[in-house]
Symmetry: C2
Subunit: 260 residues, 2 copies
């Protein structure tokens, strides 16, 4: 049977989702834990290949098991073997043809920016720290231009060899809020503000969300304009986009499937 596994992880210090020669990847951790429980090599396929240092609130993976399992027992067994930074949130039986990567109809990422004169110990590993000011209204205007079906060649990492760089983003939204108490918004003495870039799309090129975040920040600090972003996108030239934002501000928030 095929199972769908929903995962969250703090990507700090890991080599990203995909198994590789150097460094410990999340995929490797999950495959090793699952293989040990199953008693045979059990590969898992992930919906989003998050880069080294990128976090996930709702990564989805699929795997084929040799037989039917009690999913709650399997969930507990996996969490008992995984490090604290990686947690299985849910396991469900999936249709026979389910593949977490190819069946995904859309993915949502959040890029978090802390705009503050001073760092926040509680978000140092979870947000890109920038000094004020940041023109969030101009960023939101530029973000709106990225919505829809476009050739995002200017936003992929150099050297990519995908067949097409056309993708459709259903939503690119920039929002701003207080930092306060992590998770619950109690007012604190902290002088910073949190800016979030939320991007939902049918597919993403390599480093695309981080290139979008870096480009929107160029607009926010006045080195580019919403019009400049439009021209840059039309150029399909990676050299014109903003620098790729650092990985520790990026979260894979959720993956959606048509059947749901």
């Amino acid at each position: 049977v095929i199972v769908k596994i929903v995962l969250t992880y703090d990507g700090t210090g890991y080599a990203g989702w995909q198994r590789q020669r150097n460094g410990v990847s999340i995929q490797q951790l999950v495959e090793d834990a699952l293989s040990a429980i199953e008693g045979e090599p059990t590969p898992v396929v992930g919906a989003g290949r998050t880069d080294a240092g990128v976090h996930a609130l709702g990564q989805v993976a699929s795997a084929e098991l040799s037989g039917r399992r009690d999913t709650q027992t399997l969930e507990r067994a996996l969490n008992a073997r995984l490090p604290e930074a990686v947690r299985v949130l849910q396991i469900q039986e999936a249709p026979p043809e389910f593949n977490a990567r190819f069946a995904a109809s859309s993915k949502t990422y959040r890029y978090r920016i802390l705009v503050s004169p001073v760092a926040d110990p509680f978000s140092a590993r979870y947000a890109w720290l920038l000094h004020p000011p940041l023109d969030v209204l101009a960023m939101a205007e530029a973000a709106a231009m990225l919505e829809g079906r476009h050739d995002f060649a200017a936003f992929q990492s150099t050297g990519s060899t995908v067949r097409s760089s056309v993708r459709e983003l259903s939503s690119v939204v920039v929002s701003e809020g207080p930092v306060g108490d992590p998770w619950t918004g109690v007012a604190s003495a902290f002088p910073g503000r949190l800016v979030a870039v939320d991007v939902t799309g049918d597919g993403f090129l390599r480093h695309m969300v981080r290139a979008i975040a870096g480009t929107l920040v160029e607009v926010g600090v006045g080195r580019s304009t919403p019009d400049g972003v439009r021209v840059m996108m039309a150029s399909r030239d990676r050299g014109r986009a903003g620098r790729t934002a650092p990985p520790h501000g990026l979260f894979l928030v959720r993956v959606d499937y048509k059947s749901e």
Copy 2:
């Protein structure tokens, strides 16, 4: 001149606020940084003596400098010398007689509890993980009984030798909310809920907030009742209160002063 210093810190791995023989304390870090800048030993006094592993969003300290300083320059110099886990948020010149500890009129603490069948990698160091169910309404009812002027002897650590264990709590509130994306509340796949116990008072006995949180949790899991808490408080017997909640869920949120 006397300065008032507002600080935030991630207490994970530190020996608490107060300087001591074993382990690195926050007070020691701040004193060492300030003394190096001033060129002479410069003690600092903290408003709340947070225990080992307890965090602060708004600790306040006072120090006497040999002369007038540009507070923004001093802020930057201190942050340059402190580890990332400790940040100075603000420095102001204070009245000549200001003492961060004795001038404080009230302090607010938040105790954070994650109620979830599975741990959250992003709050593992910042909340006490409990498995559901937790009766938050019963906890709130018991919390209300702690408000006002009472003898809190049952809530201090055994062996304490303070003169009086009478304290006044102006507010003890239990609230519950979604976990979602840390800091900004975006819905995620995470199945847990966050319960916060917010306590404001004119003074606190040793381990008092953690004993209150532990006692309210006893009510939440059905091992005690709001009435039982009333009886327990009247007994002044530490043996009757719930166990001291672990330090990593506790935050010193703010310190208030009459003059403000």
